[in-house]
Amino acid sequence: MRSSVLLMFVFVFTICVCKASVRAESSPASEGQPAETPQEEKTPVINKANEEGELKHTVSAQQPDNTRKEDTTPANTTQEDEELQHDDVESEPPLVKDPLQPYNRAIFTFNDKAYHYFIKPIYTGYNSMVPEKARVSVRNFFTNIKMPVRFFNCLFQGKLKGAGTELERFVINSTVGVAGFFDPAKSKFHLEKQERDFGQTLAKHKMNSGIYIVWPFIGPSNVRDTAGLVGDAALNPLTWISYFFLTPLESFGNYSYDTVNDISIDKGQTYESITEPAIDPYIAFQDAYTQNRMKKIKESPDYDKTLDLSN
């Protein structure tokens, strides 16, 4: 008896959620679903939206005059919008707040020039001198040192398992991996690096992304991720080593070496593959950054989706 009442309740609840979400989806200004929608209720929602999209599809296929048909359909949005929305419920990039665009564009151009005329020649020369295996080892070394950044952010984001993984990785790689130059934790023990940063932590604790900012040399960011950079720097042992033991020039060299080494492995492919085929490289990079950050933030659990849309 009790279980059937419970079942009824769940059923009614599901239908309510379905209705609410379908209504929300069909109005254009509501990409952000209510955050309190529980995960397991989402599948039927999408199903239903699909059904509607399909129904309309077949209807309008019979009637070639699309626009007329859409005008007479009182409910929901047009067929095209419905199709556009199909997967965009999740992947639609939020409108980026960019009041500093003139300044940002100038810095973007500067960074682009710096990349092509300064950083690229450096890493090209570096690549010809240092074999790839050595460069990967150097990256492993820096990655291992920066373990506290990932460890603490795992903790801040409530990912205890991730923090444990990072701890294990650190122990294995510092010993068996010869002070972190190798990554046996991944190759032998299949422990994946947990890419957690302070920007994600702030997003998890309901901070808005704020306006878009492009920093010289560092590149695209926003208010939240800038604060994230500062937080990560505070958690980074390299910062403390630099502060106590190195002169400013040495620590700058240290930082640049880490960066150039990173780029040298990637060969700048990420940057160039976004900006080169773009019609407007500035917007292309801004959008790629925003979409990529959204993905990384969503990976952390119970992230409030409405945050990036409502600001």
Partner: protein, 199 residues
């Protein structure tokens, strides 16, 4: 009484599983995608097509094998978003052509640096006429890049309408660019910009 209930529930469960599972595990979009990718890799690995002097020939062959799985009409439509509807049929045709060229120039060229990357399917979700195939590119350095393919069933044939690399949707990326240009200037200027880029 209770026994009968349980057995009937079990029966229904097994029956529905038997009906649903072929639909779930058919894996048609994923299979098609992997076949196409394998065909592409076969060309990239072909020793008779290696080397710089063969670049053009190799790119053409790749394009011939890979392009049928993409639906450039759908991609163009989505990339233009809300502005698609107000275009005349001729404009639409021209735009699809231009957008196809953007894709071709941008991404066939990337294959020149192929050095033994592998592609594996991570998961596959199918939802009636829409499907998402999540894949991972594994480079020989062990780096992993997540690439998702959004596909739709175009009566009888699964085709790709969006590619999402590390969370960055290609179509959305171009939509942001086009939207930003169209806010400030006319459609004509957008076309001019694309043409200037391609010449």
């Amino acid at each position: 009484m209770n026994y009968r209930k349980i057995t009937s529930a079990l029966g229904i469960g097994i029956l529905s599983l038997a009906v649903i599972s072929p639909l779930l595990w058919a894996g048609e979009p994923g299979k098609l995608l992997m076949e196409t990718i394998d065909k592409g890799f076969a060309i990239l690995k072909d020793p008779s097509l290696k080397g710089e002097e063969k670049t053009l020939e190799r790119r053409q062959m790749l394009w011939k094998e890979i392009s049928p799985i993409f639906n450039f009409d759908e991609m163009s439509k989505r990339a233009l978003g809300q502005h698609w509807k107000s275009r005349t049929p001729e404009e639409k045709k021209e735009f699809v052509e231009l957008f196809t060229n953007i894709m071709k120039d941008a991404y066939i060229g990337k294959t020149d640096t192929y050095s033994g990357e592998k592609v594996v399917i991570v998961s596959e979700k199918q939802d009636k006429n829409y499907a998402t195939v999540q894949t991972k590119i594994i480079t020989n350095k062990g780096t992993e890049v997540s690439v998702d393919y959004n596909m739709l069933n175009n009566p009888g044939k699964w085709i790709i309408y969006d590619v999402i690399i590390e969370g960055v949707s290609l179509v959305n990326n171009y939509r942001s660019q086009f939207n930003n240009i169209l806010i400030k200037s006319s459609y004509k200027e957008l076309i001019q910009k694309i043409k200037a880029k391609q010449s």
